[in-house]
Every structure is written in structure tokens, then in C-alpha cells.
Amino acid sequence: MGTELKFSGWIDKHARYILSLPAVIFVLLMIVFPLAYTAWLSLHKWNFSGVTAPRWVGFRNFAELLSDHRFWNATWNTVMFSFGVVTAQLILGTALAVLLNRRFRFKNGVKTLFMLPMVSTPVAIALVWLLIFEPTIGLANQLLNALGLPDQRWLSSGKTAMFSLMIVDIWQWTPMVTLIVLAGLTTLPSEPLESALVDGATRWQVFWTITIPLLVPTLIVAFLLRMIDALKTFDLIYTTTQGGPAMATETLNIYGYLLGFQYFNFGMASALILLFLALVTIISLTFVWIRNKAGVDH
């Protein structure tokens, strides 16, 4: 009885550590240790065969990557895809939110519909768009023809493949920006808007000089959330083009996967992963910094 009380008293005293301990152990075993292992692997040459042991090569994997045309192509594709889709999503998403920010019937129904692309399985979405972009039977070319425009080769041409993938991502994730901005719009104070209208400003002026500046913090959060996800895009590209045609859509995610699990060059793959992490960190920190700056201004 006495020891039991003592024990439960001990648990109570240390509850703050006991409650978070399982999560901390998970983070250590599944995240910190694997990251350290990746760093170690990146300094070794190792083709996973079980026969040869990893061989220390110093920073040679990094040097090789940095002089590899394919690595820079993948970096450029990653940056172009991410900034392209997120910019388009912010502009379109904000415009849609402004359009929908009024009372009308079925408003909740519209919101529900907007949610569907976001929750749908990326592999399934990718397959549907594969059919839509099919050059001879796809809906995309039939729509173009109906508008009197010539056929495109969409995903099967190196010139248009990246752009086509961006269309899919913009379709899937613009609604998320719309929902975030809609939520932001409802929290805006109404007095500045009304007094500006009373003072004779046009709706257009009010939108640019009052609504948008007030929305800046919301927009920065939306940008950051979307950016992090856009940089991670793997399923869509892997299901449709696998980086092709001729590396036109090969991002760092795809190249890293191929290095690791098609060429089984774990050393190089690990080096690429670390460089990719550095890129993600730089972009994220820049936006966190911008957000803090913007926060000070308001």
C-alpha cells in the first residue's frame, strides 16, 4: 500500500516528462537517429549489395552531385514547380475567396465541394489526369478543340509536361488557399471597409488598399503551408511521368528516390537528401522571417 502510494506520487511529480516521453522516444528513434544515419551514409560510398561494406569517401558524394547536371536540373524543376504552383494558388485562391465572401444559397455545399480535391488520394487524382491529358482521347484536347485551339501533347512532351503537372497541383490545392483566406476574411474588422466606402472609395480601391494589406498575415501563412507541401510533391509526379520525358519533370524528390531505389546508390541519395533539406530549410526560414517582419509592421 505504502509503496503503491509512493509510486503514484512519483508518477504525479514527474507527469510532465512521463506524458511526453513516448513522443520524444519516437522522435529520437524514427527521426533524429535516421537523420544522423543519413549524414553518416552521405560520407560513404555504398551500393547496397551486402557484400561490400560502406567505404569512407569524405565529401566526394556532395562534390559529385554539385557538378552533376542532373542534380541542378532537378533542383531547378523543384523550385520552378513549387514557386509556380504556390503563386498561382495564392492569386486564384484569394480571388475565389473574395468571390465567395458573401451570403448565398448552398455556400456550405460549395465549401464541401472545395474540400474534395484536397482529401482525394493523390495516386487516384494522378490517374484521372493521365486520362484527361491523354493526347488522342483526353478531355483536355477535346476542350481545346471546342475552343478552336490546336491539340497539345501535355504530359508526353518535354515542353509541356511540367506545366501540365502544375495544372493538376493548382487544381488540387487552390481550394485550400480559398478556405484559409475565406476564414481570414470573416475575422477582418468591418469598420475600416465601411468608413472607406462612406468616404467615397470604390470597391476596387477598398480591396487593394484595405482588404489585401489586412490579409497579408493570412496570405503569408497560406504561402508557407502550401510551399512546404509543394516542395514535397512526389505521388503526382511518380504516378504520371516518373520524372520524364527526358528528365523534364524530375524533381529532387524523384531523383533522390531513383538514386536510392533504382540505382541503389545510398551514399549519393543521402547526400542529395541533405542538400534538399538545406534548400527546404532556407526557403522555410525565409518565409518565417518575412512573417515575423510583416507581424511587426501591423
Binding site: 507527469a15 495516386v123 486520362l131 482521347i137 505521388d235
Partner: protein
């Protein structure tokens, strides 16, 4: 009072009607753009290969269920469905078990360092862990097990659950906790008997989305699953290369994987929208 404002307030009825019509035209265009890929998926899944391959858009046709028969009989989609369901449930269960107490501790004891680390984890792309996890799990002979898949999906689910839950625990008044403490409840008892029931709406949101993320996940399953544990996204991916583009069957497979999510989302839409706008989604 300026005249512009009165003009604005007193727009004529005709003007109002035009603007209202314009609004509904725009709305219809947007709804069309958002829904057409999903509608197309459903339509094509009930069409024959000949109907899909024809250059005309066929909207009137007698639906065929042959594509669904192909999916279930020839390619045996039942096993992957069960696998996906097991992995999603396990990873969500584990993530709740670890995430709920951690979120409470972060909120109650201001463990900001842990909170920061969890936030950073959400920023790390899933691809980062493919190589080390593959090597570590294969050295422990855990490749092609439900455990490895569930643990890997927790990379997404655990941080998500913690970040959805922290605001719920922040919003519980401290007096309530203190009153319970005076009544002799231990911290763990307080957490289980008061905090968990109070934060049920948050737990529902977090669990639903966590199930969906896991169900949708491809990147970890591609490396860690095998013949025994093949999940749905993986099965469909294999199907693409097998099927030599049997479009109807492919679309039926896409419907099979998406429909449970669409139904759950429609039924619980309030929770889903709230959770989705709360944070990042991909692995």
C-alpha cells in the same frame, strides 16, 4: 456625405440583378472546374474501353460494371483494401496514444522546445527518411510488416495530431484542472478523465484526417511494403503497368480508393475543413 457612397448603397435593382447573375455564372464555372476531374473519373469507370477511346464525349450510355469486376476479380483488390485499413488504423491509434499526452504536456507545462521540434518535423519531406528507414527496418527484418508501415505513417500523423490538439488543451480553463487536483485526482487521472473527454471534437478531427493521410500515402509504402502488406495506392500503381492502360478498369480502381474518403469527408465535413486549414498535409 459623398454622392459616390449613396450611389453605392442605392444601386439600382437592375444593377443588382446583373451582378447577382454574374456571380452565379462565375460560381458555376468554378464548380465545374473543381468537380469535372472527379465526375470524369466516375463516368469513365462505368464505360467500356470503346466508349472511352472514342473521340466523341459520350455522356449518355448504359453503365457497365465490367470494370469493377476486373478490379476485384482479376486483380484481387480486397487484400490491399484490408492492408490499407489495418495500416491506417494502427498508425492513427499509435499516433493518438503518443500524441494526445504529448500535446497536453506541451500545452500544460509550456514545453516549447518539444513543440518546436514537432513543428520542424512537419516541415521535413518524407523522402528524407526513405533510405535510412529502409536500411534500419531491413536490418531488423521489419520490411513488409504492418508495424513498419504504421510507424512510418506516424511521421505525418503524430505531428499533425499534436498540432491540432494543442489549441484544444490551451483553451481548457486552468481553474477546472485545479479543482480536479484539489479533489485528489492525479495528473494522469485528470488527463484521462477530464481532458480527453473535453477535447473529443479535436480528437475526432485529428483522427479522421490522420486516417485519410495514411490511406492516401504512397511514398513510404513504396519502399517498406511488400507482397504481404501491399497497400491500395501501391496496388493501383502496379495495376497501371499490368493493365496496359485499360482506362475503364483504372478509373474503377481510382474510384475504389477514393470513395471511402469522399464518403467520410462528406459526412464529417465540418471537422475535415477545420483540420485541413489547420496545417500541411503531405508526407
Amino acid at each position: 456625405m459623398s454622392s459616390v457612397a449613396t450611389e453605392y448603397v442605392g444601386r439600382s435593382k437592375a444593377q443588382k440583378r446583373i451582378s447577382s447573375v454574374l456571380f452565379y455564372v462565375c460560381l458555376l464555372a468554378v464548380l465545374f472546374a473543381v468537380s469535372i476531374p472527379l465526375i470524369w473519373m466516375f463516368l469513365a469507370s462505368f464505360q467500356t474501353q470503346a466508349q472511352i477511346m472514342s473521340k466523341e464525349i459520350t455522356l449518355r450510355f448504359t453503365p457497365t460494371f465490367a470494370n469493377y469486376e476486373t478490379v476485384f476479380e482479376r486483380y484481387d483488390f480486397v487484400k490491399p483494401i484490408i492492408n490499407s485499413f489495418i495500416v491506417a488504423s494502427l498508425s492513427t491509434g499509435f499516433a493518438l496514444l503518443l500524441g494526445l499526452p504529448a500535446a497536453y504536456a506541451i500545452s500544460r507545462y509550456r514545453q516549447q522546445l518539444l513543440g518546436m521540434i514537432i513543428l520542424v518535423v512537419r516541415f521535413i519531406p518524407g523522402i528524407t527518411f526513405l533510405v535510412p528507414w529502409y536500411l534500419l527496418f531491413s536490418s531488423m527484418r521489419l520490411i513488409d510488416t504492418y508495424l513498419a508501415l504504421a510507424l512510418s505513417h506516424m511521421l505525418i500523423n503524430l505531428p499533425f495530431i499534436i498540432w491540432v490538439m494543442i489549441p484544444y488543451y490551451d483553451s481548457v480553463p486552468r481553474e477546472l484542472e485545479e479543482a480536479a487536483r484539489v479533489d485528489g485526482s492525479s495528473v494522469i487521472g485528470l488527463f484521462l478523465r477530464i481532458m480527453v473527454p473535453l477535447s473529443m471534437p479535436g480528437i475526432v478531427t485529428a483522427s479522421l484526417l490522420s486516417l485519410i493521410f495514411s490511406w492516401n500515402n504512397l511514398i513510404f509504402s513504396i519502399v517498406l511494403a511488400g507482397v504481404k502488406t501491399q497497400t491500395l495506392p501501391l496496388a493501383i500503381l502496379r495495376f497501371v503497368s499490368y493493365a496496359n492502360i485499360d482506362w475503364g478498369a483504372l478509373m474503377a480502381a481510382a474510384v475504389v480508393i477514393t470513395i471511402p474518403i469522399l464518403i467520410i469527408s462528406l459526412v464529417t465535413q465540418r471537422f475535415i475543413i477545420q483540420g485541413l486549414t489547420a496545417g500541411a498535409v503531405k508526407g
